[in-house]
């Protein structure tokens, strides 16, 4: 990410496996997410050795730490940031320890060649501070006591309705008309279905759908969820029960997100000593005056308005998992970055597939 002004190095992908082996580094289950290619051939071994021997002692020192972290991260965090309505950036961080005063790295693909581009952070706090910088956004945050628990689908429909509200405002501006704030089932359904196929940074739904793991929604379910949102007090319903408008609570959410500043999604993966991988998923929506926090649990989501101090607590908490991972040797099969499930290699397409998330892994 632009905000992390940390030293970056390029490491040849095909050297990594050999370098880790030669240095006797312990590897754990989480290292599989980096999909480090195995390099048994002598050519690559020689290449790796030559590459290493060309490093200065200072570089070697940093590189050794990077390799140690990539070989056995204590936990991983994938951050997606939607900056204003314009662009989406991603950063994959690997931590050496649940203690954020210990080093961490951000691992990405270098723009050219078969290289990892790795940014070395002297402490994991740098990553936590980067998240907070996006949430702070240099302006004041008000707070409300709003905290609502709902199903994944209800949340998706609520956000699709918020996006629809924003779309209607944009259209009214273009047309010099008053805002038509009546929302029909069809429009809400269309807003949600569009979000399923597009990743437009202007809309918050597609961003959150990715974290909710929703890939398809039947229109009938949208109808049920809209009814639920009425029951929960987010929306009013017309007498013929065919149209909705937001209540005061709904307006508060919709107005805040209409002028969203940044949206930050965070997935963390950590493993226990027994090698069982667990994950956390959460999303922050930094609205114009409010900061919304969505904690995504297996069966439900909790939407809360929080202040910055609470955000610091949440970020610190998810980036400091209790478990210390094992360092036992593991197989080289990659795991899905989103859910931590071991991926399956599909011979026909020569790619790794996650049956849990129903998608190919990058």
């Amino acid at each position: 990410m632009e905000s992390t002004s940390v030293p970056r190095v390029n490491i040849p992908k095909y050297a990594l496996d050999h370098l880790m082996d030669t240095q006797g580094l312990l590897r754990n289950e989480l290292s599989r997410v980096f999909m480090i290619p195995e390099t048994e051939t002598q050519d690559w071994k020689k290449y790796a050795l030559d590459w290493w021997n060309n490093q200065t002692p200072e570089n070697e020192h940093t590189l050794r730490e990077i390799l140690q972290i990539m070989a056995a991260p204590s936990h991983l965090a994938y951050m997606t940031v939607c900056i204003s309505d314009t662009m989406i950036q991603e950063a994959n961080a690997a931590f050496s320890s649940p203690l954020l005063t210990e080093p961490a790295v951000i691992v990405g693909e270098a723009p050219e060649g078969d290289n990892y581009e790795v940014k070395h952070m002297v402490e994991g706090n740098v990553f936590a501070n980067t998240i907070m910088m996006y949430l702070d956004a240099h302006s004041d945050i008000a707070t409300t006591d709003l905290a609502v628990e709902m199903s994944h689908l209800d949340l998706a429909v609520l956000l699709a309705t918020v996006d629809l509200y924003k779309r209607k405002h944009m259209l009214s501006l273009m047309e010099h008309l008053e805002v038509d704030d009546i929302l029909t089932y069809d429009d809400i359904d269309k807003s949600l279905q569009n979000s399923l196929i597009s990743n437009d940074p202007r809309w918050v739904t597609s961003f959150v759908l990715d974290y909710l793991g929703i890939n398809e929604v039947e229109s009938a379910s949208v109808y049920d969820s809209a009814q639920n949102l009425f029951t929960q007090g987010w929306m009013r319903m017309s007498e013929d029960q065919k149209a909705f408008s937001f209540t005061d609570h709904g307006i508060l959410l919709a107005e805040s997100i209409r002028n969203k500043v940044n949206t930050v999604g965070l997935r963390t993966l950590a493993s226990t000593m027994e090698g069982k991988v667990g994950s956390n998923k959460l999303v922050f929506i930094r609205g114009s005056q409010l900061l919304w926090f969505i904690e995504i649990q297996p069966q439900k989501a909790v939407l809360t308005s929080i202040n910055l101090d609470q955000a610091v607590e949440i970020v610190t908490s998810v980036l400091t998992p209790d478990t210390i991972p094992d360092s036992a040797p593991v197989s080289a099969d990659p795991v899905c970055k989103k859910c931590g499930t071991p991926a399956t290699f599909v011979e026909e397409y020569q790619r790794w597939y996650c049956y849990e998330c129903k998608e190919y892994i990058q």
Binding site: R64, S97, T101, E102
Partner: protein, 256 residues
């Protein structure tokens, strides 16, 4: 870093010993001209660089505070390499957790002590702790073990999230200074810290282990899994000298 082949290692150590003797040890061969000595000095630098490339940085411990596996350089092929040179050890910059405080060690000698042109101080024959450091609430230590050539090495790493301010660490195992690289990459070297021998080392580990101030790792356990308590602890009741010997050319020296 480069894989070590035993013969290559032995040859390199012999070359280093020869160059070192020509430069620093009196009574070895004919007197040399300044030019020759300068040439030997350059050769020794190159040999030392080559040695640095083969010194393993092995997983030797795990920090109980940060959970990090701790890699530390250690010449495990023998104690003849310049890693063990007490006054001027050849060691790479270590990658240690920010919680690292200090490292002490011991070696149970099995067979003859290797001949070296420099002084080596491998520590006593059995592991020990430094009570005035370990009794601090914020400090915890981890005992581990590995083979070093034909000998058995014991390492005691000390960790603290916040280092105690009113007590100093000892010199690092087998060298005459305490050295660390801080999180900004600045190398700190303190030669004036005391030798562990001067800090009333305690060889009775039972109470320290019972109170979980001293954790332990099974000898040569790859995963560096931390263990606590006395059950199955292989480090209790070890026999061996409590002297801190000094060796030169494989001979134990009397130090005043």
């Amino acid at each position: 870093m480069t894989p070590i082949e035993t013969q290559g290692y032995t040859n390199l150590i012999n070359e280093i010993h020869t160059a070192y003797r020509q430069l620093f040890a009196s009574g070895w061969g004919e007197p040399q001209s300044d030019e020759t000595l300068e040439q030997i000095s350059k050769e020794l630098d190159i040999l030392s660089d080559n040695y640095l490339k083969i010194v393993p940085q092995k997983p030797l411990s795990r920090c109980p505070i940060s959970g990090r596996v701790v890699y530390h350089s250690l010449d495990t092929l023998s104690i003849a390499g310049p890693w063990w040179n007490y006054t001027s050890p050849t060691r790479p910059l270590e990658n240690l957790p920010n919680t690292y405080y200090m490292l002490n060690g011991a070696i149970k000698m099995e067979g003859a002590v290797e001949k070296t042109p420099w002084q080596i101080r491998p520590g006593p024959e059995k592991p020990y702790v430094i009570p005035d450091i370990l009794e601090r609430e914020e400090v915890v230590a981890v005992l581990s073990s590995t083979k070093i050539g034909s000998h058995t090495g014991f390492m005691v790493f000390y960790y603290a999230e916040n280092w105690p301010q009113d007590v100093l660490p000892t010199k690092t195992w087998a060298c005459n200074s305490w050295k660390n690289v801080d999180r900004d990459g600045v190398v700190e070297v303190y030669p004036r810290f005391s030798d562990p021998a001067e800090r009333n080392p305690d060889y009775n580990l039972t109470e320290w282990i019972k109170e979980e101030k001293l954790l332990w790792i099974q000898p040569d356990e790859k995963s560096q899994r931390l263990r606590a308590g006395l059950i199955e602890c292989p480090y209790l009741g070890l026999e061996g000298s409590e002297d801190f010997p000094v060796y030169i050319e494989g001979e134990k020296m009397e130090i005043l």
